[in-house]
């Protein structure tokens, strides 16, 4: 359920639904798709209650497996009830210690397949991900400052997403602390100086504190970026899973 210009990804059809759709209208559609595909499992990302609440209430479809990522409303009764209601759930961010329900820990899933040791030289010192308007102006002021320190800098302005971090391979990434970017950087041994963005559900601040580097001013950011570029070390890896491993886990579970 994302932008209409992506009708297919990973060889799987995407059904786009408008945010304004009522849950009681969406629910039979989800059930009909499950029926048509003969699905015995419905895998749910982040929202066990369904993105629009369409999965809550008495459920007659296939067993549900929820892949849970850190949410701000983790302690809300509605969320806890939704976690209890699904047949199975796993925690993709157990290291954030955010979930009250006792579900198996799985750890983050990332698309990247290479390990840091497979990477040779870093092609780039600093990649600034300015994926939203708030960050664009800042990145334009930051870029010349980092260049003046002799760093090789590139700014990505959100028009080329998803980012191919494996190809760009910066030493340091400056950008939001969304799930994918954060764990991909970590998986590739790239330092991540986080600029956590406010979200209604996703807690980027919590993730940034736990997994990335957090600074408290533009000057501190400049200083840290230069230090990390000049140092030889790479961040410790967070154990993470490739999507295929997770798919196998679910099928075998």
């Amino acid at each position: 359920m994302r932008s209409p210009e992506v009708p297919e990804a990973l060889g799987v059809a995407h059904h786009v639904c408008p945010r304004t759709l009522r849950p009681e209208v969406l629910r039979p559609r989800v059930l009909a798709h499950c029926e048509r595909l003969g699905a015995d499992t419905l895998v749910i990302d982040t929202f066990p209650e369904g993105l629009l609440g369409e999965l809550s209430g008495r459920w007659t479809g296939p067993r549900r497996v929820a892949l849970l990522r850190c949410r701000k409303d983790a302690t809300a009764r509605s969320f806890r009830a939704a976690v209890d209601a699904v047949e199975a759930a796993v925690d993709l961010e157990p290291h954030l210690d955010w979930l009250e329900a006792r579900v198996p820990s799985l750890g983050p899933i990332t698309r990247v397949s290479a390990t840091p040791s497979e990477h040779g030289q870093h092609a780039l010192d600093v990649l600034v991900v300015a994926s939203e308007a708030r960050l664009l102006g800042f990145s334009q002021r930051l870029e010349p400052r980092l260049r003046a320190l002799g760093l090789n800098v590139r700014v990505e302005d959100g028009t080329s997403f998803p980012l191919d971090l494996e190809r760009l391979r910066p030493r340091v990434l400056v950008g939001p602390a969304g799930f994918n970017l954060t764990y991909e950087a970590r998986a590739l041994g790239i330092w991540h100086i986080a600029l956590p963005m406010p979200r209604s559900h996703d807690d980027q601040f919590k993730r940034a504190e736990a997994v990335a580097q957090v600074v408290r001013s533009p000057y501190a950011l400049e200083r840290l970026a230069a230090q990390l570029c000049r140092g030889a070390s790479a961040p410790l890896q967070t154990p993470r899973h490739h999507p295929e491993d997770v798919a196998r886990f679910i099928l075998d579970a």
Binding site: G178, S200, F205, P218, Y219, R223
Partner: protein, 110 residues
């Protein structure tokens, strides 16, 4: 006399080996002559001076005497003086539970 407790280096953190000559006028830790700077009417350690400049970037002009100080290279290295504005600093605000929740989640992409 105790040892200087400043760990701020020019580029990297390190332990200072000098004996202290005074206490920082802000955090009170013992510091040596190398690691003291005058800030307004106080003599403070490098860390406190840096923190003060970071917290009050608009007052940087009153710290002009630090302009060629290698310990403050980071704050003055660019020809672009005071490049950052309030909106830039707001990116670094610590966000509590009350933080803007009117922004829709975008799980994909980032």
């Amino acid at each position: 006399m105790s040892r200087c407790r400043e760990t701020a280096g020019i580029l990297f953190k390190k332990r200072c080996q000098h004996p202290s000559t005074q206490n920082c006028g802000s955090c009170n830790k013992p510091v040596c002559r190398v690691h003291v700077r005058i800030l307004g009417d106080k003599e403070v350690c490098i860390s406190c001076a840096r923190a003060s400049i970071e917290d009050h970037p608009s007052g940087r002009r009153s710290y002009a005497h630090l302009h060629d100080d290698p310990y403050f290279f980071w704050y003055y290295q660019s020809e672009i003086a005071d490049p950052y504005g309030e909106s830039d600093f707001s990116l670094f605000d610590d966000a509590g539970a009350t933080f803007a929740s009117d922004v829709a989640d975008q799980w994909e992409g980032t």
